[in-house]
């Protein structure tokens, strides 16, 4: 669940030319065997991890085929009958699909517009601070929410915005007047609150990657620009922003793959019976239909649709980044 902690990892490109793998290996199987034997302890160390990936990552991928079956627990994986694309047809033709898609896309759009740029802006502002001590203190403080759980964030939201005694709810009430508004239960306020929570929780942490990129900027560039008479804004526009553009592109591609991941815990925790019409997204729908209603095949199909779209989005935005002359992710 915490993959977002380390967003900048670039999966490494396999180096096939290293001996004794690849073609060399086929020519000399004896040498590979000898090398493997010499490394036997390394294989022993590798084994538990590989078993983990096979059991908890690849076995579920095998299980995905029940999206094309009518899975019945007493018949098991192999005994359940194949039904082709029936589950997908049910999803696309059903009444829920449009609403799920719309809710998921709106949240994704809001994330792109408001949540994605926030760390960039804050990193740029931090970068302009003159006192290292002030900079460090502010950084340390704004990192904290990243380490709080979504249940805590949701609880804080309820405490601050609840009708009866919520501090912020009352504060807004005194400012605006009128009727007391139940922010946490209402449809109207669901999306703004989700965005605010994301901003509060992730902005500070998100600055890390950009600050690292900013630290690598050659300071002579600034001097040269100043000599040429560039003001602060021009320096920002012509030196700082281009310098962090690769980091921005990588983050954008990574984000695009998760566009349909609305963040299960956050949405689930903020869903109430009153806001279901705007809060139902693919993630929570899969849980609701699959775990609580037991429709394993159907909800697996929903999950598969979501996962496949995510892969396409990553590939698509990577392609786009390369077309636009950026380095891309792979």
């Amino acid at each position: 669940m915490a993959t977002d902690l380390v967003p900048g990892v670039t999966p490494e490109t396999p180096k096939t030319s290293r001996p004794p793998s690849g073609r060399a290996a086929r020519r000399a199987p004896g040498r590979v065997l000898a090398s493997a034997l010499r490394h036997r302890w390394l294989y022993v160390m590798l084994l538990p991890g590989v078993v983990y990936f096979l059991v908890f990552k690849y076995w579920p991928m095998y299980g995905l085929h029940i999206a094309f079956k009518e899975y019945l627990p007493f018949l098991g994986y192999s005994g359940s009958p194949w039904v082709g694309f029936k589950q997908f047809q049910t999803l696309f033709a059903g009444p829920d699909f449009g609403r799920l898609m719309l809710n998921t896309l709106i949240l994704a759009l809001l994330t792109i517009v408001f949540v994605f740029p926030a760390p960039i802006v804050v990193a740029l502002m931090l970068n302009e601070l003159r006192t290292v001590l002030v900079k460090r203190s502010i950084q340390s403080l704004i990192y904290i929410p990243h380490f709080l759980s979504w249940t805590i964030v949701a609880s804080l939201t309820y405490l601050l915005f609840s009708v009866d005694f919520g501090v912020l709810a009352n504060f807004i009430h005194t400012l605006v007047g009128g009727e007391q508004v139940d922010y946490v239960a209402q449809e109207t306020w669901f999306r703004p609150i989700i965005v605010l929570q994301l901003l509060w929780k992730q902005t500070g942490w998100g600055t890390i990657i950009y600050l690292a990129a900013l630290a690598g900027v050659d300071t002579q560039l600034y001097e040269a620009a100043r000599v040429d008479g560039a003001g602060r804004w021009r320096q920002l526009w012509h030196i700082t922003l281009p310098a962090i553009r690769p980091a921005i592109v990588v983050m954008a591609i990574l984000t695009s793959g998760h566009l349909l991941d609305s963040g299960f815990e956050q949405i689930w925790l903020m869903t109430t019976s009153l806001n279901r019409s705007v809060s139902d997204v693919f993630d929570t729908y899969v849980y609701y239909i699959g775990i609580t209603q037991g429709a394993y095949s159907y909800s697996t199909a929903v999950g598969l649709f979501k996962g496949a779209t995510g892969v396409l989005l990553i590939a698509g935005s990577n392609w786009l980044a390369k077309r636009l002359g950026q380095r891309g992710l792979y």
Binding site: E128, R130, S149, I152, S155, T219, L269
Partner: protein, 307 residues
């Protein structure tokens, strides 16, 4: 922070000759500091309020809009929590699962990352691809649930640990870190008669303390904060973790508040318990945070920024 970036444009100006700075530039600096301080305040104030509220009386929470220091200092919420079996059980459960889970996760990650960092290991590329593919694609919630069910792990504490045992991102970062270690040291140990296990244990691990610290924190926070796993895999109320309790107590439509009330019978300081449980569920993280802070930015950046 590890990222000092003293070379930023502002610091540059401070050190260098002051090229007749414009008034606009100075206004910008002031505004910048003010806005950033406001951001920091928005981040921290809600947390301080909850801490203050957890020591306040029910009446004060109801009547005073916002405070950072309670007028009358009471511990009703905490007293209730520590007197109640449900809470103590959840607290202990969470502590144990986090401790065991972190050891398992860090152990598995380190032992898998080390062989993967050896370029000469036959089959290494295949194993790395096996890992990288899981970053892009996964079976998803239901198939994973079925695997956990088929393994007989439902309602078992292992269901909170094993499915998350290795984070592929962390694994790849640790692998990159191991790759950067000086090869000569390992060679020397090998000449002195160490086998691979010996090299790993005596040379590599001692050199990796910052990385181990960082990822121990990340894994521990991950398990401590995990709400989805208990929601999916744990039905038995006696096995609830703190996060589930936090949810049950503070959710808007919490019928279970009444259930808990009935369960425990006695006096139930409603708001006080809510504030106190939030504090208790957050405290351990905030306690270790300052100690590990200096490590983690470095840890995150190892292998992640290749410019």
């Amino acid at each position: 922070m590890a990222i000092d970036n003293v070379a930023g444009p502002a610091a540059q100006r401070r050190r260098g000759v002051r090229h007749h700075e414009s008034a606009g530039s100075r206004v910008f600096d002031v505004l910048n500091v003010v806005v950033l301080l406001a951001l920091a305040a928005i981040t921290v104030l809600p947390l301080l309020y909850v801490v203050a509220g957890s020591f306040a009386t029910e009446a004060e929470i109801d009547s005073r809009p916002f405070f950072l220091w309670p007028q009358k200092f009471v511990t009703d919420g905490y007293d209730y929590i520590f007197a109640s079996g449900t809470f103590l059980r959840a607290l202990l459960t969470t502590i144990c699962v986090t401790a065991v889970g972190t050891v398992v996760q860090v152990g598995l990650t380190l032992t898998m990352a080390y062989p993967l960092s050896k370029r000469a290991l036959p089959g290494r590329t295949m194993a790395i691809n096996l890992v990288v593919f899981t970053l892009v694609f996964s079976g998803g919630m239901i198939p994973t649930y079925l695997v956990v069910r088929d393994l007989g792990l439902l309602d078992s504490y292992w269901a909170l640990i094993l499915p998350l045992a290795i984070n592929p991102f962390y694994l790849l970062i640790v692998k990159s870190f191991f790759q950067e270690l000086p090869e000569a040291l390992e060679e020397a140990a090998r000449i002195d008669g160490c086998n691979e296990l010996g090299v790993f244990w005596r040379i590599v691990l001692p050199l990796s303390k910052p990385v181990i610290a960082t990822f121990s924190l990340f894994y521990a926070v991950g398990i401590w904060n995990d709400y989805m796993s208990p929601l999916l895999y744990i039905d038995d109320e006696r096995k609830w973790t703190l996060q589930v309790l936090v949810r049950q107590l503070t959710a808007a439509n919490a019928d279970s508040e009444n259930a808990l009330n009935a369960l425990e019978g006695a006096f139930f300081p409603q708001q006080g318990v809510k504030f106190a449980i939030i504090v208790l569920a957050t405290l351990p993280i905030l306690l270790v945070y300052p100690f590990l802070q200096k490590h983690f930015a470095k840890g995150v950046l190892i292998g992640s920024v290749k410019e």
